[in-house]
């Protein structure tokens, strides 16, 4: 940015949708991020899209932590013992 403040790029709705992941990932330069936020603030459909993407990410992450099955655990412990015996442990 120059001291005079170059105009930040102006983004179309299409740009906003293309750049939403860059924005959520924090992979945008500050001027573009500010322009992105201004657009989303003033444009209800783009704001809706942004919120939907955020909710999609949260919903994808909503997996309950599964525990290892007893069968898998005992199979693995057996392989460990074989390995350990094989190296003279």
């Amino acid at each position: 940015m120059t001291p005079h403040g170059c105009d930040p790029p102006s983004l179309s709705c299409r740009d906003l949708v293309d750049l939403v992941t860059d924005y959520l990932e924090g992979a945008m330069d500050p001027a573009t991020a500010a322009s992105f936020e201004r657009h989303a603030h003033d444009c209800p459909p783009c704001l809706e899209h942004l919120e939907q993407m955020k909710l999609t990410v949260r919903a994808a992450g909503g997996v309950s932590d599964e525990a290892i099955t007893p069968e898998a655990r005992s199979a693995l412990m057996e392989r460990f013992r074989d390995w350990n015996a094989g190296r003279g442990g």
Binding site: S12, C13, R14, D15, V17, V20, T21, D22, E25, A27, P44, P45, C46, E48, H49, E51, Q52, M53, L55, T56, V57, R58, A59, A60, G61, G62, V63, D65, E66, A67, I68, A72, R73, A75, L76, M77, R79, F80, R81, W83, N84, R87, G89
Partner: protein, 217 residues
């Protein structure tokens, strides 16, 4: 950050104990990582049973290679790299196995169809170039609960299963398993920008699938 460093130190200690043949160290690592290894393996091989085998082979590979683990990467990165190699070998058994980075590059070039293109007016539209042609349908109030319900989980899992393979693995690691982008790039040996392209396409498709469910009420 301090927590991360502590956690990493603890895992290195577990690996040192494992080198000395400590069974409880192995049990701890297995409890911590096995279910996640199976889910990531599943993103490559498509079947639950084969994913379980690949994850088990990963542990055997880790044990056999443990004396060569020198802590240049984190324990987590090391384990998931072994998994990635095994899963790709398993998947490409008949063909020559390619590294993930090649798979990713191929997919980024080959799957170049612009997403969501029908949702926008053309660039030469006299009044509203590149504006929404059809505004997104709102996800009603209470959408949060609906999106987090068990039914939505099925919609999301089906959408992820239908993704091209590199997208499927990246979204599984990032959004389901909660890896940082740095960890994903280290494990898969892809650039940040390729990782982001794959994640963007994957999330875009999953959102579209979720949208049909969210507005269908």
């Amino acid at each position: 950050m301090a927590d991360e460093i502590d956690a990493e130190r603890e895992e290195r200690e577990l690996v040192e104990a494992l080198k000395a043949g400590d069974e409880s160290a192995f049990a701890t690592l297995v409890e911590r990582y096995h279910p996640s290894l199976v889910r990531v393996a599943r993103s490559y091989v498509g079947s639950e049973a084969i994913a379980e085998e690949v994850a088990q082979d990963t542990w055997v590979g880790a044990l056999n290679g443990i004396d060569r683990f020198e802590g240049r990467s984190t324990v987590k990165t090391w384990l998931y790299r072994i998994l990635t190699n095994r899963a790709l070998t398993r998947r490409d058994r008949e063909r020559r196995s390619v590294p993930f980075s090649a798979l990713a590059a191929e997919e980024i070039d080959g799957d170049s169809a612009a997403l969501d293109v029908e949702r926008f007016l053309p660039a030469d539209h006299p009044q509203w170039p590149l504006h929404w042609a059809v505004a997104p349908q709102t996800w009603a109030a209470g959408g949060e609960d609906r999106a987090l319900a068990a039914e939505a989980r099925e919609v999301i899992d089906r959408a992820i299963d239908a993704l091209p393979p590199a997208q499927r693995t990246v979204i599984t690691m990032r959004d389901i398993e909660g890896f940082s982008s740095e960890d994903v790039c280290n494990v898969l040996e892809i650039t940040e920008s390729n990782q982001r392209v794959l994640l963007h396409r994957a999330r875009t498709r999953v959102r579209a699938a979720l949208n049909e469910y969210m507005v269908d009420q």
